[in-house]
Each structure stands twice: as C-alpha cells, then as structure tokens.
Symmetry: C2
Subunit: 186 residues, 2 copies
Amino acid sequence: MAQESTKEKILKMAKEIILDKGVNHFTLEEVAKQAGISKGGLLYHFNSKEALIKGMLQHYMNDVAVEMGISQETTDKMRVERVLLESIRQMGHNPCEYEKNSAGLLAAIVMNRELIEPLKEYHHNMSTWIAACDDSTLAHILFFALAGIRLSTMMGLNDFDNEAQEQLLSRMAQMARDINHQDTEA
Amino acid sequence: MAQESTKEKILKMAKEIILDKGVNHFTLEEVAKQAGISKGGLLYHFNSKEALIKGMLQHYMNDVAVEMGISQETTDKMRVERVLLESIRQMGHNPCEYEKNSAGLLAAIVMNRELIEPLKEYHHNMSTWIAACDDSTLAHILFFALAGIRLSTMMGLNDFDNEAQEQLLSRMAQMARDINHQDTEA
DNA sequence: TGAACTATACCGGCTGGACGGTACATTTTC
DNA sequence: GAAAATGTACCGTCCAGCCGGTATAGTTCA
C-alpha cells in the first residue's frame, strides 16, 4: 500500500482538481503541486498526461466493476436487476466518491475521445444484458436515469438535496425490482 | 437574415467541430477555417472565445425555451407534464439537432464552469416545477433519464439504434402522461 | 453629383503566455 | 552503491487575443 501511495495521491488530486476547479485547471504542474511533488516526479509515475487520464479511467472502471459485482456470474436476467440495484445503492451510499470517479471521464473526453472506448464497451454490454430482461424498456429508462444523475452531478447541474435524492433512488430501486417480476402480476 | 449568416455559420461550425472532432480541436482558428473566414474575421463577430461559447449556450437556451413552450402559461401541475412530453417528442423527432445544441455545454464546462450558471438556473426551475406535480418522484426520474440520454449521446457513450430509442421514448411519454393522473386510478 | 467621411466586415501577421514533454542532476532507499 | 524516486531547467508548440491594415457600402454635405 505504502509504495503505491504517491501514485494513488496523484490520481486523487487529479480528480479533485477537475471537479473543484474545472478541467481547464487540470495541468500536470497543478496536479504535481497538489500532490506535493514536482512535475518531474509526477512524470516518473505517469509518463504522459494521457497515461494519467488512463489511470483515472482504470480506477473508475475497477470501482464500477467491483461495486456492481460484474465478476459474479448469475443468470442474464438477474444480472441486470442486480447491477441496477447495486448501482442505485452505491449512488445513495457514497455519492461523493461516485462523482469523483467520473472526473476521468470528463478529462478523457476533453483530451482525446478515443480514450473512452472501454467505457463505450461497458455501456454496450449493459445494453445487451438489458435487452434480455422481461421489461427491458423500463430497465433502459432506469439505466439512463442513473447516467443522467451521475453526469448532471459531474457537470454541476444537479442541485438536489439529499432527502430528495434518497427518495428518488428508493423509487428507482423499487422499479428495478419490478423489471423481472412482470409475469407475477400480469 | 443574410447579414446574420456569418455569425450563424460560425456557431454552427463551432458545434460541429466539438461534436465531430472533440473539444480539444475547438480552437478559434479551426472554427474560422471551417466557417470560411479568418481568425480576425471571427473575432470581429465574437470578441473572445468565451463570447463564442456564450453564443452557443444562448442558442441552446433559446431553442429549449421555444421548443418546450416555456413561455406559455398553464397551471403548474400541467406544465411539468407538458414540458416532459415536449422534450421527449423533440428528442425523438430531431435527435441530431438536440445533440448539436449541447456542444456549447461541453465547451463551457471545459473553458469556464461559471458559464453554465444559466443552465443551472434552468435545471433548478425544472426541479421546482416538478415538485408541484402529483408524482414528483416519477417526474424526476423521467427528467434525469432525458438528461442521461442527452448527455450520454453527447459524450459518444450511447450506441442505441433508432428503433430501441423510439420504443424507449414512447414508454417515457406514457409514463409522463401518468404523473398527474394517479388520482384517477388509486 | 461627387468628394470626403464613416461604418461594417474581414484579413493575416505577430506575440506572449501556458503547458506537455525531455534531459539530466540529485536525493532517498534498500 | 545501485535502483527507485524526485527535483530543476529548459525546449517547442499551440493558441487566444491584439493590432494595423484593406475593401466596400452607405452617409453627409457642398
């Protein structure tokens, strides 16, 4: 853990700068300064700005994968429901961390759109899984609503208070639980 | 109209560059080149890059306001329903134009986050209106789903085909029509 | 009516600063 | 003392904004 701490700190500070000050302040010098090292030191760990962004995206992807239990194998039908529910739970549980992680996405889009290819793949996979569940249209709506909350927040457009957000998320969770239980009602 | 064409063309080209090539290619020189004038000529119409971005945002805000019929006064309750439905209809009707208009948003966030203040105000107003309708939680979910579709598309993360998107939007429209008719069912 | 003047639209070279990246020196760690 | 980690100094490029022009259409006035 200790030998990784500088690298971790660099990533953390990069995210903070992007979210607190804006992407235009995301420069190698600024990140190095905030991380308490020099630019040369930073470039030792990430040998280009692109590498730094890739590092942030990797962080994001890992977190998403772990949190959602992507690695666990279940039936395709239940997978969507579980992933949506887990995503909703995480957003309610730790909104700050969630927001921070999307900083890499913003940086990637600004620097070089090709960097988001892995994320595109993730979205594509979700779409494919979603198509398999009973009420795939509803699942898609929930999926986009989650994306909307996450991206709006990232852009500073979302001024929801916690209470309202919680209410929103619990309703979404309720809807998510319905996407594979249509048959029991109809 | 003719005396405005250069300014209009500049705005149009700026949006196209951002969406086609990425924000990193959005430079005054590139915009000028695409618009068929020189950088000096461009700066005659928009005397700074910030002014150009403000112009794009203004365009966006105007379009949104007109399309949604914000100016028409109805009861608060119906307003949300109407705005959501109109928004959904527009997205299905002219997705390309919808996408193009959000280019300004992306540029603004990169350049100077303060530029999106007017948009924040719009979002805030929406939230206030939404709180007034019968099923405000559902209305919020739809609102965020719309944002999610729009922003995902803008970032190139959305690889939906037209058919799926239409199905999605019609379901959303159906849900939107329900937000003020809960009382007739319960 | 035509000469002097003004406004509008646009051009293109220039500059100064910001920033990514390199090369190498220096310190720390084991 | 060697490898890892960090610092320092510098280079080259990119780009926003500035500025001195040009061209042309419209206006004023004698």
